[in-house]
């Protein structure tokens, strides 16, 4: 459905606005916008970051919250009286069918960890894109201990990752392993009822992967998208639509990754920055600051950091620092938010990430595409199970903010390779709209979510600029 919208709109996007026109549009707002009721969750905000902690507490907390969930699911599915649920892994009785609950650990021999670098005679090999192999094996763990899961192909090991909480039905073998028959996940959490539609359709736009400063960045298309979102471009119809734009979510990677550039390497080693390097760091930021200023002068904007943005490395990424965007942050309608991001906009719950959670899982599963993984995370009730094991993560104190106690109405994953959308049901009639938001650099598309109908469309900004030379 999104593609239709994209092609329909092509006609209105041919001309390049002149600077004068732009300045003009900045000051004049053609359609009055209604401010949306929105509440950005502080779920992923870390007030004071300290690193004295270890990672064990995250897992403990995750299991604590999800254990009753899977236990219930197991009872529903397999019958409470028929197959007993073991309190602890260690209380498994020999040769007796039972259900055990714990955190999965997927042992993957291909993964290189930091100690491998210290092994003698080890030749550094480039890390593979995908770490799965037929030697992967599953271990189930709780506070009391672990047990190896055996049971062959039907367990679907290739889709599973470390860190998900599951219930397993099976029998323990004499060798201390657990012969697993079936693995059960927490299942999609309840979706809150979306507000009944009233009046005109309202929209939320999601943009990710602007990639300002990148070599492959197409400044013109981006400018067009910003203009469009500001209600300055497009057909009358489109402009009216934009007047009902409640919010723009910028889902990460607004800046190009610096890491590969030579300038960056030089900074790393010397700590001294030449003028040229300084410009390299700051120029894209200035540009972005300008774009955000323009955008936020007409609509509420939530800026999430992504893997390329100057935020912290560990998950969750904290909001960008205001000093990076001095101009736009003076505008109250620009909110610097975390990644992942959770917000209720006019009663519709949006939950989304800039993509790292899915991208990371993708390396440890075989055959599943990003959409499959996104759906799985809903089923696992966990945004980022591979954190902290593979996805670098903040060492939380007895907390795991990535557990989904309820499902959102809209679940989006930024910086995807291509646009995709689908719905997932929670089993009680609730539906989650899952959206893979394509990286703008790749598809030149922004995503529009209709908050009344949950319909998702895209808008393409294929500029003709490239054709000029």
């Amino acid at each position: 459905m999104g593609k239709r919208a994209a092609s329909d709109n092509k006609g209105g996007l041919l001309a390049l606005p002149t600077v004068a026109e732009l300045e003009d549009t900045l000051t004049v707002k053609k359609h009055q916008r209604h401010a949306a009721e929105a509440e950005v969750s502080k779920q992923f905000v870390i007030e004071k970051r300290t690193f004295d902690n270890q990672y064990a507490e995250i897992y403990s907390h995750r299991l604590k919250i999800l254990r009753p969930v899977v236990a219930q699911a197991a009872e529903r599915k397999w019958g409470k009286d028929k197959i007993p649920v073991c309190e602890k892994l260690l209380q498994i009785k020999d040769q007796q069918e039972c259900v055990v609950i714990g955190t999965l650990y997927k042992h993957m021999p291909l993964i290189r960890r930091v100690l491998d670098d210290f092994k003698e005679k080890s030749i550094p090999v480039p890390p593979p894109q995908n770490y799965t192999s037929d030697k992967d094996s599953l271990v189930l763990e709780d506070e009391s201990g672990r047990t190896t899961l055996v049971g062959g192909d039907h367990l679907g090991i290739s889709s599973l990752v470390t860190g998900i909480v599951v219930a397993v039905r099976g029998t323990s073998t004499t060798g201390g392993e657990f012969e697993a028959k079936e693995i059960l996940f927490p299942g999609v959490a309840d979706v809150p009822e979306p507000p009944s539609s009233k009046g005109e359709d309202k929209y939320v736009a999601i943009l990710s992967g602007a990639n300002v400063g990148g070599i492959d960045n197409d400044t013109l298309s981006l400018q067009l998208a910003i203009d469009f979102l500001s209600g300055q471009l497009g057909t009358e119809e489109q402009q009216r639509m934009m007047s009902n734009l409640q919010r723009v979510i910028v889902a990460g990677n607004s800046l190009s990754k610096l890491e590969d550039s030579t300038e960056f390497a030089a900074i790393q080693t010397n700590g001294k920055v030449s003028l040229r390097q300084q410009r390299h760091i700051v120029t894209p930021l200035r540009e972005l600051d300008g774009l955000f200023t323009q955008l936020s002068s007409s609509v509420e904007v939530d800026v999430m950091p992504g893997s390329g943005d100057p935020s912290n490395y560990t998950y969750p990424q904290q909001a960008l620092n205001g000093c990076l965007l001095p101009m736009s942050t003076s505008n109250k309608s620009l909110n610097l938010s975390t990644n992942p991001y959770s917000c209720v906009i006019n009663g519709v719950h949006f939950l989304g990430t800039s993509g790292q959670n899915v991208e990371n899982i993708q390396r440890y599963v075989a055959g599943d595409d990003a959409m499959d993984i996104a759906k799985n995370t809903l089923m696992w009730r966990h945004l980022a199970p591979t954190a902290p094991d593979q996805l670098a993560c903040y060492p939380f104190h007895s907390n795991d903010p990535f557990v989904m106690t309820s499902s959102p109405n809209v679940y989006f994953i930024g910086n995807a390779d291509k646009f995709e959308t689908t719905t997932v049901e929670d089993g009680r009639g609730g539906k989650v709209t899952v959206v893979m938001v394509p990286s703008f650099t790749k598809e030149k598309k922004i995503v529009l979510v209709n908050c009344n109908t949950m319909e998702v469309t895209t808008m393409s900004f294929q500029s003709s600029y490239k054709g000029l030379n």
């Binding site: 690193f51 270890q54 260690l90 955190t103 930091v114 092994k119 201390g176 920055v273 490395y313 620092n321």
Partner: protein, 1071 residues
């Protein structure tokens, strides 16, 4: 050899000192005492419901119909009463040999061997006749009786004297036989007594005489094995009708089958063909944990044994048959292992003892069990008055005792250790086995596992052990899991390093019991072979008083002056295979072929050779020497084993064969050393000096031959040139640039030169070094090629290093440089890299673990004669926090810090963790000058003119200066924020940058952020690694293994993240 002290069993707990050495002390056998029969009556063990512990039930044997065949694992002896119907002395105390083993079906066997009498030889006084035997015996008996201090319950000390006409002495070639007297004594202990009587003086026919004794210093069990042709770990066969079952009331052991046999009925199978198989022996690996008090290494008088983990495997089976943990206090279950919980420590110890007896292991292994686990258990049991605990052996009444031993040997150095004797069970401390066979920088179980098994093991400091023990059932379970792992790892090491196979094969090849291999040096192995071979040839071996004089030393091997430098052409390495053994064979060098000068005239010229040292040996046509025969057998057996190995596919059999060929090689090489050991059993410098003399000549001749033949004049493309030669190898530069050509020429030269030497001396082409970095004598590195297609590896000799007093950065730098120089041929890259490391070092960018030096704290600081850095540091650490300070026996890791100018070296050592916590600057110059400089200069000297320039210059200009947190002037400093851009002091209200730098704020922020991100990345990497290593996501990481390469990194990253996070927050406050 096991010794019993049943008489003073409980009397004196003090361990007594006993020396076991290569030096000739092992003839002083202590006397085993007679068993007290009343002690046998121990009630049978209750089976405690652990039905899987015991061995399979033994069949009922009918000695008149059934034969008994078993693999013997150990042979020792006791003193006892003569058994009716057995040969030998029938009165008083007699020695009874006990052999321990098991049948093919895994039933344990103990066979008492009766009637074998200790003896030795002396040359008969002139004119001695048959009639003189009895008078001589009486004379000697009286003398021995009067020199025996202890009361020995024997009727006669010397039992018999008889004339032997058929023997010669092994020393010197003579054609004449000597008349010998064989002197039999009642018990082994009397052999040395009688010997010293013979050696000092005795009166015979009115004349005062003294004489050399022969074969009077061989251990009694070994004497028996030699006479019966039994080798270590071989299969013993008792035919039906040749043995009897020991009556139930006379049985002294827990073995399933206990029999008595006469010594002359015992047959042994040579360990070949079918009989090279291994019985399914039971191997018990165990580890104990003790709850130490804070800051003190556990002491048996105070600290309880809280856990004993056990793993039992049966030889030939892939998975352990028993896994369990004995726990003090309750403990949660462990998947795959049995958990036994006890409220009373005494009960735990009793039960464990019963477990050991019931499992009845043939071999007990563990890591450092000899010096820690066993002594600790024994002392603890004594302290708790668990009287029956030491009865861990197979003899029901015998209590194990802990003794101090000093083992010293040229090859292994001096080592003090403890020994706990367990009758009938072989002990194999994996730590000792690895210390013997591998030179490592650390022998902790962590680093040994990392090296050989490729896995890190977490290390729980003993101060945490008590905390876990005092915690919940789950905490104790966690501890139990560690403990179990420590019991599993020795087994895996045993497996991976094929220690069982190697030891068993070594025992078979050399003929000594397995227990001798760990407890004794190289010499006993040669002695065993020498005696065996001499016996076949009717030669007897004199006991020579070792007399070592400085002038006895002789010239060693020769080294050809190296042409130092970086050789970029292929260098062919030609090696004499088994040089010394083949020289001895080629020239028939032996004790028995050595000629006395005065005998030369009686021999036709041409019947003997004169060696480069001027000694004379008869040729093999006249008489073949014993040593050459032994060597020939060893080397041909090795060749057979290697051939079999090629054709064998079964991994178990391959392991046996490989163990054997290795044992054979080591044995062949130790023969030469035996003849040269001046404090040895039978030194003969004429032999050893001649061997090295030949070796030197051959090396020089080889150089001459190569350089004469491979010349342009003879049609070769270049003149060959010997760049280096040492002992048994020469490095030839043929001048070609082509590897294939170098290999071809190498083979040609090897064949050509081999022709020129007496067989079996053989020069072999082995490998090509290309390129070859020749630093000095015995110091070189090269890329090794055995075929032209692809290099095999980097071969390094004598370059850094496994020395522990080098910090890891040295090894890293040298290794990386060698790779760059030899493989990448990138000398500039190596130089650049070295400079980079030095620059990182000076700027504090190296990981701290690379700079940690460690030394074992063997005694209190005060007890060291000179002040030692690590001991002083340990003392300081104790003052700071007695809980975590290193105790005696720990390794103390330290780094060198900057200190006042005239600070002593020992004052500059500091705890790495303390350094991290307090931002103490390291003495980078020390690392540069005392650690890196010499190895780097040595390595680069052959390559570049002035290697010193690597250590000075631009890259050494920037030096890190941290702000100390305490001490000195900092106490008076006032903290004030300064601008992150220009360092100007900030005004009120400004937190990050000054007015002039506002423009740069975003950029400065990103700089700080980059630091944070990099550290976060590292933080995530190391802490998840530790979770994987400890095998749990849900439990916090407790490991404090300072051997682990990421231990300090883990601390450092936490610390630095905290610091950097603070500067990051200054920006947050600003916004």
């Amino acid at each position: 050899m096991k010794r019993k002290e049943t008489q003073q069993r409980d009397a004196n707990p003090k361990p007594f000192k006993k020396k076991i050495e290569d030096e000739p002390d092992w003839d002083e056998e202590e006397d085993p005492s007679v068993y007290d029969a009343s002690d046998h009556m121990e009630p049978d063990l209750p089976v405690g419901g652990e039905s899987t512990w015991a061995r399979p039930a033994a069949p009922t044997l009918d000695p008149s119909k059934d034969g008994l065949c078993f693999q013997q694992m150990d042979i020792d002896y006791i003193l006892g009463e003569p058994l009716e119907g057995m040969p030998g002395n029938q009165k008083g105390t007699v020695p009874i040999l006990r052999t321990w083993g098991l049948t093919e079906n895994g039933n344990s066997v103990q066979c008492n061997i009766h009637g074998y009498t200790p003896y030795f030889y002396i040359p008969a006084p002139s004119g001695f006749s048959e009639n003189d035997c009895e008078p001589f015996r009486k004379m000697l008996n009286n003398r021995v009786a009067s020199s025996t201090r202890d009361s020995v319950k024997v009727s006669d000390y010397v039992l018999e004297v008889s004339i032997e006409n058929n023997f010669r002495s092994i020393m010197h070639y003579t054609q004449n036989r000597t008349v010998f007297l064989k002197i039999c004594v009642a018990i082994p202990k009397l052999v040395p007594t009688a010997r010293s009587v013979c050696e000092s003086d005795f009166t015979w026919n009115g004349r005062s005489l003294s004489c050399t004794t022969y074969e009077s210093n061989i251990l009694f069990p070994l004497r028996f094995m030699i006479d019966k042709g039994i080798v270590g770990a071989s299969w013993i066969n008792l035919k039906a009708g040749t043995y009897r079952m020991t009556p139930q009331d006379k049985r002294t052991t827990n073995c399933q089958i206990e029999v008595d046999a006469s010594f002359d009925m015992v047959e042994a199978h040579a360990p070949e063909g079918e009989w090279s198989k291994l019985a399914p022996f039971r191997i018990l690996s165990f580890d104990i944990e003790c709850a130490g008090r804070k800051g003190v290494f556990p002491e048996a008088e105070h600290d309880p044994v809280i856990q004993i983990a056990n793993v039992v495997t049966i030889q030939g089976e892939a998975t352990p048959s028993i896994k369990n943990v004995f726990n003090l206090r309750s403990c949660s279950d462990i998947v795959g292992a049995q958990v036994l919980a006890f409220e009373d420590e005494r009960e735990l110890l009793r039960k464990w003892r019963r477990f050991v007896v019931e499992v009845d292991p043939d071999i007990i292994i563990g890591y450092n069990i000899a010096n820690f686990d066993f002594p600790y258990l024994m002392n603890r049991a004594k302290h708790l008055k668990v009287d029956e605990f030491p009865k861990l052996g197979r003899v029901k009444s015998a209590k194990a005792r802990v003794r101090d031993t000093t083992f010293s040997s040229k090859a292994y150095g001096t080592r003090e250790s403890k020994e706990t004797s367990l009758d009938g069970r072989v002990q194999l401390d994996i730590l000792q086995a690895i210390q013997r066979d591998h030179k490592l920088s650390s022998y902790s179980l962590n680093s040994v596992s990392a090296k050989f098994l490729g896995e890190q093991k977490e290390d729980v400091h003993y101060s945490i052990i008590s905390d876990l023990y005092n915690g919940s059932d789950d905490d104790r379970r966690r501890l139990a899991v560690y403990c179990l792992k420590d019991a599993v790892l020795p087994l895996r090491l045993l497996d991976t390093l094929m220690i069982t196979y190697n030891y068993i094969e070594m025992a078979r090849v050399t003929g000594v019991p397995i227990s001798y291999l760990l407890a004794r040096g190289q010499q006993i192995k040669v002695v065993s072979q020498l005696y065996r071979k001499a016996k076949q040839m009717n030669l007897v071996i004199p006991v020579i008083k070792s007399a070592h004089h400085a002038e006895d030393s002789f010239a060693g091997a020769t080294v050809l002056e190296p042409q130092r430098g970086f050789h970029q052409e292929p260098i062919s390495s030609l090696d004499f295979s088994s040089l010394y053994p083949s020289i001895m064979m080629a020239h028939n060098l032996c004790y028995s072929t050595l000629l006395n000068k005065q005998d030369l005239s009686s021999l036709p010229p041409g019947s003997y050779v004169t060696t480069p040292t001027g000694d004379h040996f008869v040729k093999s046509e006249i008489r073949k020497g014993v040593l050459p025969i032994i060597l020939e057998e060893l080397l041909s057996a090795r060749k057979r084993a290697k051939d079999d190995l090629k054709n064998e596919n079964d991994p178990f059999k391959r392991a046996v064969l490989d163990g054997r060929q290795l044992a054979l090689k080591v044995s062949a090489n130790s023969v030469y050393g035996f003849t040269g050991a001046t404090v040895g059993k039978l030194p003969c410098l004429a032999v050893s000096a001649s061997v090295t003399g030949y070796g030197r000549d051959m090396l020089l001749l080889t150089r001459k031959y190569v350089e004469e033949r491979f010349t342009k004049l003879n049609g070769y493309s270049h003149d060959a040139n010997i760049v280096y030669g040492d002992t048994d190898s020469v490095m030839v530069k043929f001048g070609t640039n082509d590897i294939e050509e170098a290999i071809k020429l190498g083979k040609e030269a090897a064949n050509y030169i081999s022709e020129k030497f007496q067989k079996p001396i053989k020069l072999e082409f082995e490998k090509v070094y290309y390129p070859y970095l020749l630093i000095n004598k015995k110091r070189y590195a090269g890329l090794l090629w055995t075929r032209a297609e692809k290099y095999d590896k980097i071969d390094v000799k004598g370059i850094e290093t496994v020395r522990r007093d080098n910090c890891p950065v040295v090894k890293n730098v040298i290794n990386t440089c060698l790779q760059k120089i030899l493989i990448d041929r990138d000398v500039d890259g190596a130089i650049k890299y070295t400079k980079g490391v030095i620059s990182d070092l000076l700027q504090n960018k190296l990981d701290l673990s690379l700079l940690v030096i460690s030394k074992a704290l063997s005694k209190e600081g005060k007890e060291y004669a000179n002040k030692q850095a690590h001991a002083e540091l340990a003392e300081r650490m104790r003052k700071r926090d007695p809980h975590t300070a290193p105790a005696i026996g720990d390794r103390v890791p330290y780094v060198i810090i900057q200190a006042a100018k005239d600070a002593k070296a020992y004052e500059k050592a500091e705890d790495p963790l303390w350094v991290l916590d307090n931002n103490i600057p390291l003495d980078y110059q020390y690392y540069l000058d005392n650690q890196l400089r010499k190895p780097i200069e040595r390595l680069f000297a052959p390559i570049m003119g002035n290697p010193g320039q690597l250590l000075s210059g631009d890259h050494t200009r920037t030096v890190f200066k941290p702000t100390p947190k305490q001490g000195g002037i900092i106490a008076f400093a006032v903290k004030q924020l300064s601008c992150l851009g220009c360092k100007a002091p900030l005004k009120n209200g400004e937190t990050t940058v000054c007015r002039n730098c506002t423009d740069r704020e975003a950029e400065l922020y990103q700089n700080v952020l980059n630091n944070v991100s990099n550290l976060e990345k590292q933080f995530a990497k190391v802490w998840t690694q530790c979770q994987v290593c400890q095998g749990s996501l849900h439990q916090p990481v407790l490991c404090t293994s300072r051997d682990c390469p990421i231990f300090y990194m883990r601390k450092k990253v936490q610390k630095e993240l905290g610091d950097v996070q603070q500067s990051l927050e200054r920006f947050t406050i600003a916004w």
